[in-house]
Amino acid sequence: MVGRFRWAAMFPDEVWEHVFSFLTSDADRNAAALVCRNWNRIERRSRKRVFVGNCYSVAPTVAVRLFPEVRAAVIKGKPHFADFNLVPSDWGGGAEAWVEAMAEGWPNLEELRFKRMVVSDDCLDLIARSFKNFKVLSLVSCDGFSTSGLAAIAANCRNLRELNLRESEVEETCLNWISHFPESCTSLVALDIACLEGEVNASILERLISRCSNIMTLRLNHSVPLERLVGLLQRAPQLMDLGTGKFSARHNPQLFSRLESAIAGCKNLRNLSGFWEPGLTYLPAVYSICEGLTSLNLNYATIQNPELVKLISRCKNLRRLLVMDLIEDSGLVAVASSCKLLQELRVFPSDPYDAAEPVSLTEQGLVAVSAGCPMLHSVLYFCRQMTNAALLTVAKNRPNLTCFRLCIIEPRTPDYVTQEPLDTGFSAIVESCKDLRRLSVSGLLTDLVFKSIGASANYLEMLSIAFAGDGDMGLHYILSGCKNLRKLEIRDCPFGDKPLLQNASKLETMRSLWMSSCSVTLGACRQLARAMPRLNVEVINESGRGPLVAQPDNCPVEKLYIYRTIAGPRTDTPQCVWTI
């Protein structure tokens, strides 16, 4: 330690531990750990929460050994493009190695959050038996398990507070898994089972909810009928977050008024979602709590205007809105004038594959919201047409954007008025929005836009590119710029070997790079792997051309996934994946 800080060395470890306990963000704790060996030792031995953005970046046993006091872990597996079927289903991301290491080294683990991992029923069983004080299990976008595994969790985790299965794919093997929660279970605070496809026994659920007086989040699946929702709400009027089940029924005025008063009784409701198969007759039943809502998720609700706008316009305090393009431009204009506190907007396509009946959602809706909602900072927008002028207006209106993801559904669509590429529009976004962390580009784009992004997007952490660019320079601009880039995912772009090899060291500063259907050759991958031992260069070739080791250098690479790691090449690659 430097001389003038010698006083610090006199403090016992416990004092530093206490000081570090005020550092809540991982980045801050990481920074503290780099100051000196002493702080490194004290910090990591007192760290309670660990975040592993790529499950293959470190060996589980190593992570468990380095941070012995961890109580909460977040582990992420497959690359983001796995969401869109671009990653082979057997690619990897299995949770066994992690769960085994944690069962061994973290017996006091309380919270486990997996994202895009393959979690087997055996894993769930091991989790259920290994951690005596287990409180939170969150499986987001996971698969590999069934309701039998859930039954094991329900039966054995005595102090379970949160069970979250958001957007996971769950096999139905155990019909009444909910009944495995013992009568003594009263600790549940959050239950999100919206993704389950099978029937959930509403009576058992009702009894469970009745005895869990602290339940705050309840997200049902489509099988729970409206009639049963009434009973559940009556037993949990303290709910803050509700995901309804099926939101339609035969016309029944008595049901309507019972539903209306049950919902009105939930005075703390802030988040509303669900609305599976919505019927228009029952929508007004939620009107009474609209003003209190801060988050509304209608992205699975096929409600059209005017009912859709009627509902949303009542939600004057909305911070977060997820909706389908059925809202149309007119609806977004209404949102712009009603929801002045809006921070996040996501508009999903109702009919992404069929062009049969185009919905009237264009760039106008986006411009309207950008003008009317001063706190808007996060946008995900699917549409079919865009102009540079609109993007320039959005950039001018909302320099506070931190996340801008625009998906123009038809690849390579130009500015529909001028027929030009959308380079100037997206350039305006990155130049104006200095705090932009996440960007997805689409439409017709040349290398010029990447020049702007590379030069201006100084805080950009995640970039998604599809069907864009002219050649190698596009990728070179990105890799040689974008100082804070962590994740880069590219598909169907004419980017080749040169920019990768020229910017090899950049790849070690990032979490990962995905490239598919580009112009990279096997030879470049071999060179890269040789030059960068701390990168795993995974080549995925599904067309079964024979072992990659025998292929020549000029063999084109279908899919490429490069990530930094201290664990070396992984041992669980399937046939189609080759670590160079």
Partner: protein
């Protein structure tokens, strides 16, 4: 004037795809929709009828795609969906007839959607009395009928699509009865 007409013309294709190629291309009749999504319900200018779907594009979660398809199929199986067009309006709507109890609710629902009946009185014979628009429907046999003549239950079984037309045009239908 010509561009306005073009803008409001009902087209089965993506806006932004080249406008020139669409002119003159055959617009498939509504009945063709029943033949399946892969039939000629595509704009000739943007590619062949059976447009190859790019893997993983648009970037929507498989989970969402599956649940949306399932929802679509399920809701259309349990509902009685018919298309509604209004003369002069550029876009079609789809409504579920099962949601309405009778002609009054149907009229109210359509009024809410299209804002067409703010004046005029509803009469049992679907009067165009003073109202600018009238609701007509196409029945199982393909005939164009005035809405309101038959009992409601019979109506929802035979109605294939609805059309809101100008009162003056509907008067011709009324004289048939």
């Amino acid at each position: 004037m010509a561009s306005y007409v073009e803008d409001t013309e009902l087209r089965l294709g993506l806006p932004g795809s080249d406008a020139l190629a669409t002119r003159g291309s055959k617009r498939s009749l509504p009945e063709d929709d029943a033949a399946g999504d892969d039939s000629s319900c595509r704009n000739g200018g943007s590619g062949s009828a059976a447009k190859a779907q790019v893997v993983g594009w648009p970037p929507i979660r498989t989970y969402r795609k599956n649940s949306f398809q399932a929802m679509k199929v399920e809701s259309e199986a349990s509902g009685l969906f018919v298309k509604v067009s209004m003369d002069g309006a550029p876009y079609l709507r789809k409504i579920d007839l099962k949601v309405y109890k009778g002609y009054k609710e149907l009229r109210e629902g359509l009024d809410g959607m299209f804002n067409c009946f703010s004046q005029g009185e509803f009469s049992r014979k679907e009067g165009c009395n003073g109202s600018e628009f009238a609701i007509t429907y196409e029945d199982k046999d393909g005939d164009l009928m005035l809405v309101g003549d038959v009992p409601w239950e019979m109506f929802i079984c035979s109605c294939k699509r609805l059309r809101i037309m100008k009162g003056s045009e509907a008067r011709g239908l009324e004289s048939r009865h």
